[in-house]
Amino acid sequence: MASLSFQHVYKKYDGGVVAVSDFNLEVADKEFVILVGPSGCGKSTTLRMLAGLEDISEGEIYIEDRLINDVLPKDRDIAMVFQNYALYPHMTVRDNMAFSLKLKKMPKDEINRRVSEAAKILEIEHLLERKPKALSGGQRQRVALGRAIVRDPKVFLMDEPLSNLDAKLRVQMRVEITKLHHRLKTTFVYVTHDQTEAMTMGTRIVVMKDGFIQQVDSPTELYDNPINTFVAGFIGMPPMNFINATINVDGSDVYVTFENVTVKLPDRYAVEEVMERDGQEVIFGVRPEAITDEATYVTEHPETAFAADVDVVEMLGAETYLYVTVNGALPLTCRVDPTTSQSTVGQVVDLAIDTNRIHLFDKDTEQSIIS
């Protein structure tokens, strides 16, 4: 059990790469935190600094209230699980799991107790005497998790543990790891570049880019209130539509205009931060599912409706994606309901935007204009 605290942490590699910049984060005891971001954004480096595998160039990291910058890695009480779940081919499952405890010269009874307990949690008791060769992919993953569990660490670190698995096993293991966290009641720090994985597993997500934290929030907050265009675009699939638009203020009404379309914004946008931008360009963010082709909605919301040419219709069963072009110039992606959608390729279709779910970003800073 342990809380974590990162305070102004930097990592500068020889050769000048600044892999992590001014990283500040508080992680509560027993929390499951996910670091997510495009490849090269500094996730692994952050994890490796926490584990003691890389020096901390600047700043401080605390586990509980203990400053660990100068604590030997082996004294940090951490267990790591990496991209490839690897087992020793020449050892039985039991020996694979017991290995790190034997290194610590732990008494045999205690080792046996811990291995049995971990095997029970992972439901692999019947596999203990087998060699890894005789295990299925999923079973191996569990054994590898078992190796970490027996250490009974204060913190679990996982660096893209699922990235080498096929899609089906990956989904299964996500659930498995989440369950494990509930059972063990220990702090987890989990790294992935896959936003879907982050969104489905995390209770709190740290979005990183170029070594900087962009936003730390719950999945719903990240989705509903991204603080900048990066987070807005990174989280959610298919990604948010970003539209160059102009703000127009008419009395107490606020409109955005793009191409030949004018959309009236709800009253909550009639605030100073928006009003003062009358006539200025902004980035108008609309998630695909906030655009609909449902006929009744469109007729009931003429103030947000517009026409577009349908280029592609992608039917995925539970949902349909429309790729449309507005005014022959602006491409948009819409996620529509397949049970009501009648749109076909080549057609001009009437669409409407659900303006309760739109975003405005500053054109230069790319930051959200109202929060």
Binding site: Y13, P38, S39, G40, S44, A51, G52, L53, E54, L72, P73, K74, D75, R76, A79, M80, F82, N84, A86, L87, Y88, P89, H90, F99, S100, K102, L103, P132, R147, A148, R151, H193, K209, F230, G233, F234
Partner: protein, 368 residues
């Protein structure tokens, strides 16, 4: 020597009188009474001259310890009664076993090391190997593990615990920062098809164990060789893999000899040839005009098989930004990376350039 000291230390908690071991000249190398260590026992001459294994003076009993028909040490114990005699002979036999065992282990290690370093005559290897119960006709794989010097001893400990219980592996240190594993893979790898999986699994498991003990390690995996006589080749290959891997990839913790890719070729090229090639592909140092972002973009574009949409998704830049950056590369270097030929040329040239940079930086501290 250390092992004798260990025995005597253990004995001191059991025996009630002073006991110890001296060399054949009478100099005491280990004693339950630390003050005696380093002193000389004048009775040793007489003991050596006596035909019997046991002899005694007025207050001490002595036992000659003979290994391979040669007296190597003398054990002694204070007291001359029958009981003392029994204790002394137990102590003597114990030390003899330990010395013998240790001697063969150390000699075996020395032998394997000298095979690795090609200091043995190939024809003699099988004969000597038989003495150490090494089966020459089984395939081997050498893995080298490089850490910081501080972590070296710990690393060796961990590797020895991984492989200590199997007779199929020899683990020892080459220097403070380098540990070597010579694996007999006869039972572990049954078909050629298993080889890559075995290498992936084993090297990753070793890295995990070391990382989990807080050790940053770099692992080089050599080639599979069919017989023990060829472990030197596997060792050379593992060292090469380690070096080549580190040159061409920044944070590459595991490099495998049979997965070196183009790096393998470039590494063999003479530097003059490399320079000519660079001057041809990037005249006027055109490469220098490309900034960090652009270079990272190119790497990612290559990793995604020149697929633009995948690349822009992974880097999280707009498709147009990617196009813009690629256009810039074309303008500055004349290479259009969207074309396969140009992409190959660029990839090769940037690797050659990395290699040249490596040569420059390592010129001063020539690593083997």
């Amino acid at each position: 020597m250390e092992e004798i000291k260990k025995c005597i230390k253990l004995a001191s908690s059991i025996l009630k009188t002073e006991a110890g071991v001296m060399d054949t000249s009478g100099s005491i190398i280990a004693s339950t009474n630390p003050e005696s260590e380093g002193q000389s026992d004048s009775a040793s001459r007489a003991v050596m001259l006596s035909e019997d294994q046991f002899s005694s003076t007025s207050d001490k009993s002595y036992m000659k310890i003979t290994i391979n028909d040669q007296v190597r040490y003398i054990a002694y114990l204070n007291g001359t009664d029958a009981n003392s005699r029994v204790n002394l002979s137990l102590l003597g036999e114990w030390i003899k076993t330990v010395v013998k065992e240790h001697g063969t282990d150390a000699e075996k290690e020395l032998f394997i090391k000298s095979v690795l370093l090609e200091n043995e005559l190939v024809g003699e290897i099988p004969i000597k190997a038989r003495d150490f119960k090494i089966n020459c006709n089984e395939p081997r794989l050498v893995i080298v593990v490089r850490t910081s010097e501080e972590d070296g001893a710990n690393t060796l400990d961990i590797l020895q615990s991984i492989y200590g219980e199997t007779s199929n592996a020899a683990v020892f240190a080459m220097d403070e920062a380098t540990s070597i594993i010579v694996l007999n893979v006869a039972e572990l790898v049954s078909s050629d098809g298993d080889r890559n999986a075995f290498v992936d699994e084993t090297s990753q498991a070793i890295l995990d164990s070391l990382n989990n003990e807080g050790i940053t390690a770099y692992i080089g995996v050599g080639s599979f060789v069919p017989v023990f006589q060829q472990i030197a080749k596997s060792y050379r290959d593992s060292m090469l893999a380690l070096r080549v891997g580190k040159i061409f990839e920044k944070n590459c913790y595991i490099s495998k000899y049979n997965q070196l890719g183009i790096g393998r070729l470039i590494y063999q090229l003479p530097s003059t040839l490399c320079r000519m090639f660079i001057d041809e592909v990037f005249p006027n140092e055109a490469y220098r005009s490309l900034d960090e972002d652009t270079l990272a973009t190119i790497d990612c574009f290559f990793e995604n098989n020149l697929n633009g949409s995948e690349t822009s998704r992974e880097l999280f830049v707009h498709r147009n930004t990617l196009v813009y950056r690629l256009d810039k590369v074309k303008k500055n270097t004349g290479l259009d990376l969207r074309s396969f030929d140009d992409a190959v040329l660029f990839k090769m040239a940037s690797m050659v350039r990395t290699y040249l940079q490596y040569l420059e930086t390592s010129k001063d501290n020539m690593i083997r």
